[in-house]
């Protein structure tokens, strides 16, 4: 009797898993198929599931509509801000993990608070300041502003990582006469590489996805891909195929990165509270 019972519950479980998977993946399926439809097919009523796919939307958005340029802008901004965050964040994380000093808890509190601050609180003052400094519509303005979330991410994840490296290694090197900087650079940093990699991937994802700063601070020359995608919404005849082609181009790289860092994404989103 036990065997058929078990088989049935396995089936139920399998179906539940399939439904969960479908729930998560279906919108992506619809996005990609819509991007392969001509405007005529995309506006079919009712929607069609079988049609002759075309790459015309991709050709148009990449070569006629400056989506290619905006993707490059996104790439420049996300890569630079990630590199800068790692450069500034790793030594700070090492200090938080290893040294005792006054105000450490407050500093820690302040870093974490940034996870909660809404960009909308910062964006208008930054808009005014960047106009004064001639930084409006430049990559640099976005790269710097994205530090508000990339730097904390790097610091949190790397502090955890440095803590997991045995202190004895530092102490042994110290007895050998190595400087603090050398210990960090040649002993701890190489061992902390997994944390550096994960936090880089996460800061890349978050910067690549950002819309509000990009929308307000970079309206033309430095326009990033998400801001480009929403500019198609203006006007009466909404080009669904083109919008979904642009969306696909934006989403595919982040999804690849997300799958690579899948084990750590939740940790990143909860700022390490959930392992």
């Amino acid at each position: 009797m036990a065997a058929p019972m078990q088989a049935r519950s396995l089936w139920a479980e399998g179906i539940a898993l399939a439904l969960i998977g479908l729930f998560c993946v279906f919108p992506f399926y619809w996005m990609v198929t819509t991007s392969l439809k001509t405007q005529l097919v995309a506006l079919a009523d009712p929607p069609v599931w079988w049609f002759t796919p075309t790459l015309a939307n991709y050709r148009e958005v990449l070569f006629e509509d400056r989506v290619g340029v905006s993707l490059i802008n996104s790439l420049i901004v996300a890569t630079s801000t990630t590199a800068l965050a790692v450069l500034l964040g790793c030594p700070a994380a090492y200090a938080l993990a290893r040294f005792e000093f006054r105000g450490k808890t407050d500093l820690w509190f302040w870093f974490i608070t940034n996870r909660f601050v809404s960009p909308v609180v910062l964006v208008f003052p930054v808009f005014l300041i960047s106009r004064e400094l001639g930084l409006r519509d430049t990559h640099l303005a976005l790269i710097l502003m994205y530090l508000t979330f990339t730097l904390p991410i790097v610091i949190w994840i790397c502090t955890d990582q440095f803590r997991s490296i045995p202190r004895e290694l530092d102490e042994a090197a110290m007895l050998e006469g190595a400087s603090q900087w050398r210990i960090f650079r040649s002993i701890c940093l190489p061992l902390a590489m997994p944390g550096v990699a994960v936090s880089s991937i996460l800061s890349f994802i978050f910067s690549w996805n950002e819309l509000l700063f990009a929308y307000i601070l970079a309206p033309n020359a430095a326009k990033t891909a998400p801001a480009m995608a929403i500019s198609f919404m203006e006007g009466y005849d909404v080009p669904y195929g083109k919008i979904m082609a642009t969306s696909t181009l934006i989403v595919v790289p982040v999804l690849i990165f997300a799958l690579l860092a899948s084990k750590h994404l939740v940790r990143g989103l909860t700022m390490g509270a959930v392992k």
């Binding site: 619809w30 009712p46 030594p91 909308v120 998400p226 929403i230 994404l265």
Partner: protein
Amino acid sequence: MTLRVPRRTIAAFIGPAVAALAIVGVAPLLYALWKSFHDFNLTQLARQRWVGLQNYQTVLTDSDFWDAIGRTALLFVSAVPVQIALGLAIALVLHRPGLTFWKTLTRLSLVLPMATTYAVVGLLAQVMLNQKYGVINQMLGWVGVDAINFIGDPTNAFIAVILWDVWQWTPFVALVLLAGLSTVPPEIEETARLETRSPWTVLRHVQLPFLIPSLVAVLILRTADTLKLFDMVFTMTRGGPGNATEFIAILIERVGNRQFDIGLAAAQSIIMLAITIVLARLYIRLFYREVS
């Protein structure tokens, strides 16, 4: 043992990061605080003058502001319980032994929605929820429901935002709760399962106590993210129709960017920041005790 290090070395390690974050994260806040005491509209720059607390008075008596706060709260209390219920169900299925390969695959698919560019999530809503061409209405038609005007009707647009928030964040909640479930010591769970056949009893008396930290984390982070919610709603409805989906971040954007009233937007931002700091403090108190 703590390494004894000169203060100069510590400053060299941590100074650059602190300076950078102070410049990009704190200086604009101080500037916003300063501007919040001014009558400052980008269309009437000549009129700029000190008005003290007048902007705050306007905000606190402004029905738009309170409506936006109310809407944000309503979104939170409608979406988050659904996310927790569905997320818990998903986590419990994934937590069961067996079908390992398929569970790994499902867990990977759960990662996708939360990583998706929020703006794209909003655009997807536009395409999939369209009254005529949308696939969701087609599917509703299969089960005999008439096409719904999701984006154009105030109540439906609000429901659409809830649905879309549930789609994007249920997987996150599921994964956080799954992590919580894995903190239950296996021997305790096994003993409990030998004693009772009811999965409900196991959940209630054995697993739930271990899930409390995860649930608290979910509640606080979802509160923060609902307060921050901008990209998805902006691309989906721009806060409309009317101001049916004008949540707090969208309201501030409208006042600052479409009405050019920077002084008022700054006052709203500062109030929002105060709420944020209270939340963050709560979160840190609950989760980072070991640091201090």
